[in-house]
């Protein structure tokens, strides 16, 4: 018996030292760099619950869900909640919105693209497979995935198609490298970014074109020669075939006119045909490979950012030696594990969400007034997308918004096209929407079982709790209860309106407006 126990002990020891779990490793690597400083206390159940709901379900929990979680005494309730949220039908919808905003940066919408993304997260399609679909941009397989390219191949007015922006976006979003400033010469400040890197990616997409914006159909003209380029400084003519930064160059075969296709394109049906040498097919195949470290690092870093509010390399698209990771070992670990798990996004989400770092409070450690975000000692406030905000507002106020309101919320809270939504960013137009929009004001009038009507039926002493749980997913503190009761007493003659104003003050608050 004793021998058995010691064996178990040995096995356990071995598994700890040789197969440390990812959440444990995350916390070890973060704490290793705090240099004696304190980390914030763990988030209370309320803050954790709200955060996890917003991250994985794209909305806040209902009062019942919150109460049930708070009263649950099981020690593994947080892990169970994460599992439950990752398995819920809200997860694919939330991820479709999240990846849409990240990949399209508000350039436009396309229903089949949204469906494609949603289906991916329903089936838990891995990130490498998604990247393959998106970059392959086939008109027949993975319908809708081609929108990433097709939208960027549209041209506006008299302006030509912006191939430079397409090249840049592939580098930024899939490889974590913004090569924009290496288009005309080697990057002047970033030694790692060479003109060859930009041109190599450019050579993959230079012959792509938009067949039909309505169907997001993309095709390629044959590529039979290398891409010519020269530095504006050095004026030495150079050439490159399609290649990834630091990777192999794919030489276009010198095919004669008429011999470029296996299946010729059909101009009548607009079916693009099948090329013998298709740079897009090579790009789709080569870029998401496990041995492409850029792809794995970028993937790990972006998934981390989505949950933690800041990249380990930050900005997200400036991976290079002079912009080092805040936690290089951690990033290496995330990239390696992500690749080892075949780029399973859901798996990585869960590992990060189980860490203490994810589950920390957003309040600074006591006595501190400023914490460097890259230390991850305190949870970072994350921006809520227009989609998250609208869902959370409906949940909080007990109302249903129509498509017109969705449009308004998008206008008020979304960034302009090509502006990544990666920071909390209060704006005048958002404030004006909250202050004066008729739809928002209508939510604060008792009607059809909405929050304000529900509150109106409660006695004054019960209102604060229901209100705070509904809107801020937490119980009011004693002073807040006092404030609410006092305010209601003062405004006894216009109780409904007073309740409406109280609800508005929480809905329009900074606390509601971020994922803290």
């Amino acid at each position: 018996m004793a021998r058995f126990f010691s064996l178990v002990f040995l096995v356990l020891l071995a598994s700890f030292s040789f197969a440390e779990s990812v959440p444990t490793a995350i916390d070890r690597l973060i704490v290793a760099k705090v240099n004696g400083a304190k980390v914030s206390k763990p988030a209370e159940d309320d803050e954790f619950l709200r955060r996890a709901y917003l991250d994985f379900a794209g909305t806040i929990p209902s009062v019942e869900q919150a109460r049930a979680f708070f009263t649950d005494k099981s020690p593994d309730k947080r892990a169970k909640l994460i599992d439950q949220l990752l398995a819920s039908p809200a997860y694919p919808k939330r991820m479709a919105d999240l990846f849409h905003v990240m990949l399209m940066e508000r350039l436009g919408d396309f229903p089949e693209w949204s469906t494609y993304l949603k289906t991916c997260f329903e089936k838990n399609t891995h990130w490498d497979a998604m990247a393959r679909d998106i970059l392959r941009a086939s008109s027949t397989d993975a319908k809708g995935a081609s929108f990433f390219l097709s939208k960027r191949l549209e041209n506006y007015g008299q302006n030509p198609v912006d191939y430079s922006a397409l090249t840049r976006d592939i580098g930024r979003l899939f490889l974590g490298k913004n090569l924009q400033c290496a288009e005309c010469h080697d990057h002047l400040f970033i030694k790692d970014y060479k003109q060859q890197d930009f041109k190599g990616i450019h050579a993959f997409v230079q012959n792509t074109y938009l067949v039909d914006a309505k169907t997001a159909a993309v095709a390629e003209k044959p590529t039979t020669t290398k891409l010519d380029y020269m530095s504006v400084f050095k004026k030495v003519p150079k050439q490159t075939g399609p290649s990834l930064p630091g990777g192999k160059e794919f030489e276009p075969p010198p095919l004669k006119k008429g011999e470029e296709y296996i299946v010729k394109p059909d101009p009548k049906t607009k079916i693009p045909g099948q090329l013998k040498f298709s740079p897009l097919a090579i790009l789709a195949e080569e870029l998401p490979k496990k041995d492409n470290t850029d792809f794995a690092l970028n993937g790990g870093n972006r998934i981390w950012f989505l949950l933690m509010g800041r990249g380990i390399v930050h900005p997200l698209d400036l991976h290079h030696k002079e912009n080092p990771a805040s936690h290089p070992e951690l990033l290496a670990l995330l990239a390696k594990e992500f690749a080892t798990h075949d780029f399973d996004i859901k798996w990585l989400f869960k590992e990060i969400a189980l860490s203490q770092a994810y589950q920390r409070s957003s309040e600074f450690p006591s006595g501190e007034t400023k914490v460097a975000p890259e230390s991850f000692r305190t949870a970072i406030e994350k921006r809520l997308s227009a989609e998250q905000l609208l869902a959370a507002m409906q949940q909080a106020m007990g109302v249903k918004a129509d498509a017109a309101v969705l449009t308004k919320v998008n206008k008020a809270f979304a960034n302009a096209p090509r502006e990544p939504e990666d920071e909390v960013n209060p704006s005048l137009k958002a404030a004006l929407f909250l202050l004066n929009d008729p739809a928002v004001l209508a939510w604060h009038v008792p009607k059809g079982g909405n929050l304000v009507e529900r509150l109106g039926k409660l006695t004054d002493d019960k209102i604060a709790e229901e209100l705070y749980l509904s809107v801020l997913t937490r119980l009011p503190a004693t002073d807040e209860r006092g404030l609410i009761e006092g305010y209601l007493k003062k405004n006894v003659g216009e109780r409904e309106k007073a309740i409406g104003r109280l609800a508005w003050s929480l809905l329009a608050s900074a606390e509601f407006g971020v994922n803290h």
Partner: protein, 422 residues
């Protein structure tokens, strides 16, 4: 830190900076701190009138009567001996002693889509970043004064809203608040169903919630939130800017057409202290029937513009307001088969006036037929240098600061036009 005139490494990063340019986000402040204080002594403002599509220089500031391409209109004398303008500008002619004409513009773009943007951005050298429009740049460089109002208001026909694009890499804070057909954008004003007291009360409650939330958290988010709600409240206090009627006499002087109404509203915004007011007029692209087209548009402009100059002068505001009226290019001297004039960036004109600008002068000249510049040519970069100087901003010494990477505020291959400056 390396220094270069070309790209910046974090160009994309710039454009999405937390737009509260202070505290930790101080990455994008103006390089010379003392200068903001210098300018603050007397808040400078700008009126920028944009005649979209291309005003014909031959039917306005640089007429060539009785020449091959001169067209049917005559010239008239102005209040400044020796300076003549088209007979379509009789009212401006009377205030010419306040104005400066530039007849030597030679710019790069002859398409609208490229020209509108390049001209309004001052056509800086390509540095891999999207430069702000003039309004965004001036908002950044001069701030919003003490008015509490947004620094950049754009009065235009058709739709309005928040136009982040004009902020370029400085970020959406320096974009325009556009008043479509002079009306406030959606939700700018509190609905009539809510009283002032109620509005104040709900915001007091909100401030309490925010204060409590921020006690143990980063202040930046709360400060930015406070800033935007304060600005919303300030706009609300100044409902009169949007709602008060104009005196019938003023309406008559400025004209009841779009440009007249919008210019009158612009006067009110300048009086309220808005830093940069842009007024747009559309429909100047007279490829066909140029002489009726410009023949009806130029007098509308003339009426509204001259009334504005008179009023600014009367109020002593020309001392601190810089006035500019221009297009993305001029129009071809050659008259096409549709009796129209096409796009002509080679030789065209603009008018400028007000703070820092010479009064009653003409700079540059075109050849006899008006086809090319016959003096030193001036690109838009020269004009940006000139205007920044006129506003008290040294365009050589002042730079945007991108986390240590300096970006010039104007094309560094150009310099100010001395003859225009006081």
């Amino acid at each position: 830190m390396l220094r270069s005139n070309l790209c910046t490494p974090a160009d994309h990063h710039l454009s999405r900076r937390q737009w509260f340019g202070t505290a930790a986000g101080a990455a994008f402040t103006v390089a010379a701190p003392s200068f903001a204080q210098t300018v603050k002594k007397k808040h400078k403002q700008v009126l920028f009138v944009w005649l979209d599509g291309g005003m014909s220089q031959l039917e306005s500031w640089d007429p060539k009567p009785n020449t091959q391409f001169g067209g049917p209109f005559r010239t008239i004398q102005t209040s400044v001996p020796g300076i003549h303008v088209s007979e379509l500008c009789p009212k401006s002619a009377k205030v010419m002693h306040h104005l400066a004409l530039v007849r030597s513009l030679c710019t790069q773009d002859n398409s609208h889509s490229a020209g509108v943007e390049r001209i309004q951005r001052g056509d800086p050298k390509n540095r891999g970043v999207t430069y702000p429009f003039f309004g965004g740049a001036v908002s950044k460089l001069l701030g919003n004064g003490d008015s509490g109002l947004p620094p950049y208001i754009w009065i235009k026909p058709m739709s309005g809203g928040f136009i982040p694009k004009d902020g370029g890499f400085l970020g959406p804070k320096y974009g325009a608040l556009a008043l479509g057909d002079g009306k406030p954008p959606e939700n700018l004003l509190r609905p009539a169903t809510m009283s002032v007291a109620e509005d104040l009360e709900r915001n007091d409650l909100r401030n309490l919630v925010d204060k409590r939330y921020a006690e143990r958290r980063s202040k930046e988010n709360i400060e930015a939130t406070k800033y935007v709600f304060d600005m919303a409240a300030q706009l609300q206090k100044r409902r009169d800017l949007f709602e008060a009627p104009f005196a019938p006499k003023d309406q008559e002087r400025y004209g009841t057409h779009d440009l007249g109404r919008h210019m009158l509203l612009a006067r009110r915004m300048l009086e309220a202290g808005v830093t940069f007011v842009k007024v747009n007029s559309y429909g100047w692209d007279t490829h066909g029937d140029n002489f009726n087209g410009q023949g009806s548009l130029v007098p509308q402009f003339d009426q509204a513009f001259a009334a504005m100059i008179e009023d600014l002068h009367e109020r002593g505001m020309l001392d601190n307001v810089l006035v500019i009226a221009m297009s993305e290019f001029g129009r071809t001297p050659r008259i096409n088969g549709h009796i129209g004039r096409d796009h002509w960036p080679e030789a065209w004109s603009l008018v400028t006036a007000g703070t820092g600008i010479q009064k009653g002068v003409v700079v540059g000249k075109t050849n006899d037929k008006g086809t090319f510049v016959a003096s030193e040519e001036h690109d838009i970069g020269h004009m940006f240098h000139t205007w920044f100087k006129a506003l008290g901003i040294d365009p050589k010494a002042t730079e945007y600061d991108n986390e240590g990477q300096p970006l010039p505020i104007a094309h560094d291959g150009c310099k100010a036009v001395k003859e225009l400056l006081l």
